[in-house]
């Protein structure tokens, strides 16, 4: 063990709902330490009342996203050494979403918008019919493939300044899922999707600032998906279908 344990001051948001403040904890500093390790250390050894959310710890589940030094990140895949430049580490709940307590946000508005965007499967066949063959080389399938690795972590949602200013805006994740379903040959709801993303909170509100694509930990490109929806809705309107 180290003869003198090195520590790092970590500023963590504490509070319930809208009310709260940053509190500083001294946390042992190790090499190869993730931000989630730091949060877990505080909860295990300093203050067990700290609330936060995580599950898989390996970047698969999308539960542990938080604001780390002002930027939305998966805490489980963020090494402290990479983000704590001058030994400052500030951890806060995801931006835009309402805070339940400490670092745990209420994800309801985020998921409600997936449903509003019709980013749900609209079945085109019953279980009695043959499975549809979807070729991986198909042009539509490639467009869908570009966005299907989304794990609903809400990093893009918290990174989006348009959502921050326009509470009705459906946001990058929901719109990207709507786009993947629009390009899914098995989905029977193409018109429904186009109508859902053309309303007051729809894809046309996107300013293409690209925060979503910049911060997506899976390196997806929701901005491109939204551009695809804009193009598809424009074409549908010109053909008199919207």
């Amino acid at each position: 063990m180290n003869e003198v344990e090195k520590t790092r001051p970590v500023s963590v948001w504490r509070g319930e709902g809208e009310v709260g403040q940053f509190e500083t904890y001294d946390v042992p500093a190790y090499d190869n330490q993730t931000v989630l390790d730091v949060v877990s250390h505080i909860q295990h050894y300093i203050d067990p009342s700290l609330s936060y959310r995580f599950a898989c710890r390996v970047g698969m589940c999308g539960s542990c996203a938080m604001m780390v030094n002002g930027e939305p990140r998966w805490t489980c895949r963020t090494h402290v050494n990479k983000v704590a430049g001058q030994d400052v580490l500030e951890i806060a709940p995801l931006r835009i979403l309402p805070v339940i307590k400490d670092l745990a946000t209420n994800m309801d508005p985020f998921f409600d918008k997936w449903v509003k965007a019709e980013a749900v499967h609209h079945s085109s066949a019953s279980r009695d019919e043959e499975m549809m063959v979807v070729l991986p080389d198909d042009a539509e399938r490639k467009k869908a493939d570009a966005g299907i690795e989304c794990i609903n972590c809400a990093v893009c949602y918290a990174a989006c300044d348009t959502v921050a200013g326009n509470a009705d805006y459906l946001g990058p994740a929901a719109l990207q899922r709507a786009w993947t379903l629009y390009n899914d040959a098995r989905d029977a709801g193409k018109q429904t999707i186009l109508e859902a993303v053309s309303g007051a909170g729809g894809c046309h509100n996107c300013h293409a600032q690209g925060g979503c694509s910049h911060y997506c930990p899976n390196e997806l490109n929701p901005m491109q998906a939204i551009a695809g929806l804009k193009q598809a809705t424009t074409r549908a309107m010109l053909k008199g279908k919207l």
């Binding site: 348009t162 200013g165 326009n166 729809g202 046309h204 809705t233």
Partner: protein
């Protein structure tokens, strides 16, 4: 706050404005380099259906385009929505139209003591 209809209106007016802006800049350069006086300019614009249509279309495109853009900015910055936002949008569009059309009419079809 931007529906497909508003989005399309803003894009179409932008498409209209692109050649009109180039035409306007061309006219300005021509007028300045040629050293045209106010009277000479008015001599060309008075009674001209072409210049009335050119700048009339420009003013209408600007009014629609700017009203939708300002509406978006106002909503995102202040959170204003509903009827107030609708009044603001129409007010901006009508205000810009009136100001612009007044200026166009003054140099095309209204004659008032400029010599």
């Amino acid at each position: 706050m931007l529906t497909l209809r508003l989005y399309m209106l803003q894009r179409i007016t932008a498409l209209l404005m692109a050649p009109l802006v180039l035409g306007h800049i061309g006219v300005m350069i021509y007028a300045v380099q040629g050293g045209l006086s106010a009277a000479e300019i008015l001599g060309r614009t008075q009674g001209s259906v072409f210049w009335f249509s050119f700048y009339g279309l420009f003013v209408l495109a600007v009014s629609v385009h700017a009203a939708i853009g300002l509406r978006t900015i106002l909503h995102e910055v202040t959170g204003l929505s509903g009827r107030l936002l609708m009044f603001f949008t129409w007010g901006t569009a009508l205000g810009l139209s009136v100001l612009g059309m007044r200026a166009i009419l003054a140099v095309t079809f209204l004659t008032r003591g400029v010599s």
